[in-house]
Amino acid sequence: MDRVLSTLSFEEPDRVPFFLLLTTHGAKETGVSVKEYYSRPEYVAEAQLKMQKRYGHDCLYSFYYAALELEAWGGEAIFYEDGPANAGRPIIGNLEEIDALEAPQVSDSPELLKVLKTTERLKEKAGEEIPIIGVVMSPFSLPVMQLGFAPYLDLIYEEPTHLKKLRGVNESFCVEWANAQLEAGATAICYFDPLASNTIIPREVYLKTGFGVSKHIHSRIKGPCVTHLASGRCLPVLADLAKTGTLGVGVSILEDLGEIKEACGKQLAVLGNLNAIEMCRWTPAEAEASVREAIDKAAAGGGYILSDNHGEIPWQVPERVLMDIAKAVRKWGTYP
């Protein structure tokens, strides 16, 4: 915990903290299918604890999969044997349905309650020793699953009134969901907002839409938050993100980590940016070189947590590579 806290206060701890944001690997660990794995909160908790012990990384991750929030809204998740669940059919088919939309209560959603159970169990076991990272989808990004991507982009550009209405409903849900996780024992919330990235939405549009949402949400969440852009780019919006009240930002391999770190200064901590897709086929030498490069570019002065660039390590990444990453952090990440 201290290691993470010092880096977040822009001090150099004993070594660079690293987050292996493992999700579906827990199913392998437990020896069950991905679907079954996520049906039992204790599976997720036990697997998180086991994996943390094995790799020695600096967090526990209570995140299940993004489509879980859609399930809470009455939608469906589609499960795969060899990867994360995906969102099923959108729950909103036309504009009138936005008018009638009501946010689900956390306490009414069996899916969300499972995550809370996992969180409580992690907290029981880890206490104040290892930070527990919870996840929410930003109310500005969630509608991609609620409506489908194209209809949501149409809404952003052409239907400001309905956009506003949707934003209101989603905001109350997001705040309740984040605070419930904090209450259950999460140390911090990772706020997934890839639509804030200029890969997806231009800054001018973001400033009129998702920026206000994020600012509002951050002021109502009763704990520390870090914004993750899910491997979208961030340089043009870094200063804006800092103004939302977020503590740090999850960044992409699509941009230079050194440049990002410089632009963040002491305003935002940086989380990233190992390429989670190429990682599937990294040799030990490649894993070491990637870790070393990231540390060289971003670790000085603290304010840096090493992790992948998406906020989730794909199922296809072998255990051996994760071990190579862990070893490399210990070798190259010690602060003088």
Partner: protein, 213 residues
């Protein structure tokens, strides 16, 4: 009236500011002196290709590329209807996501190609086994595959194996986020090419079809 480049750029600017009316006025003006195909080839397609490059370089956002494609397609349908005989029908193109329910990439690529005057068959999010059955009946020269989820990229390999078993020959071009984050992935799954954005798509299609560009 020459200087297509400047006119393509003006059109591109209208698209980037999501100015439907201005885009429409520009095309109406062009129609007085150019054939639909000249407009497509010299103005609309280059503008969209340029936006593709800009997205890839991180200079514009996906939503801008999406809106630009949407406006252009609306304009195009008016000047060159879907069933127009002057559309490009060779090589025969198909597009699918091989079971990935993330359909935006496919939609944008299909829209771009239709706007550029091509015809293409959209197989939707069909699984490899079913697709091969369809491909026995509908001859396709080049199949475009758009996938967003890493685990689903292995379906390209599966498709390739099934095609070989059936003795069906065709080229496969893949695209989508995982292929961009790992530029070697397309080879590992047995595709013939990976195209990161729409700017290189037409030239890649022509290359694989053995046409000079």
């Amino acid at each position: 009236m020459e200087n297509y480049e400047a006119r393509a750029q003006t059109f591109e600017e209208a698209l980037l500011s999501v100015d439907r009316l201005e885009a429409q006025n520009l095309i109406s003006k062009e129609l007085k002196t150019c054939t639909p195909f000249e407009i497509i080839e010299k103005i609309i397609a280059p503008a969209l290709e340029n936006l593709g490059t800009k997205w890839e370089m991180g200079e514009i956002a996906l939503s801008q590329e999406y809106m630009a494609g949407k406006i252009s397609e609306e304009l195009m349908i008016k000047i060159l209807p879907e069933n127009s005989l002057s559309r490009i029908t060779s090589p025969r193109l198909g597009i699918t996501t091989l079971g990935d329910y993330h359909l935006l990439g496919k939609r944008m690529v299909a829209s771009f190609l239709r706007t550029a005057g091509f015809t293409l068959l959209d197989f939707g999010p069909i699984e490899p086994e079913k697709l091969v059955e369809r491909l026995k009946e509908e001859k396709i020269d080049i199949l475009l595959v758009s996938i967003l989820m890493l685990n689903l990229t292995s379906k390209v390999r599966k498709l390739r194996t099934l095609l070989e078993e059936e003795g069906l020959e065709m080229k496969i071009i893949v695209g989508g986020a995982p292929f961009k984050f790992d530029p070697l992935l397309y080879k590992n799954v047995g595709a013939d090419a990976m195209v990161p954005d729409t700017s290189e798509l037409i030239s890649t299609i022509n290359r694989l079809a053995g046409k000079k560009t």
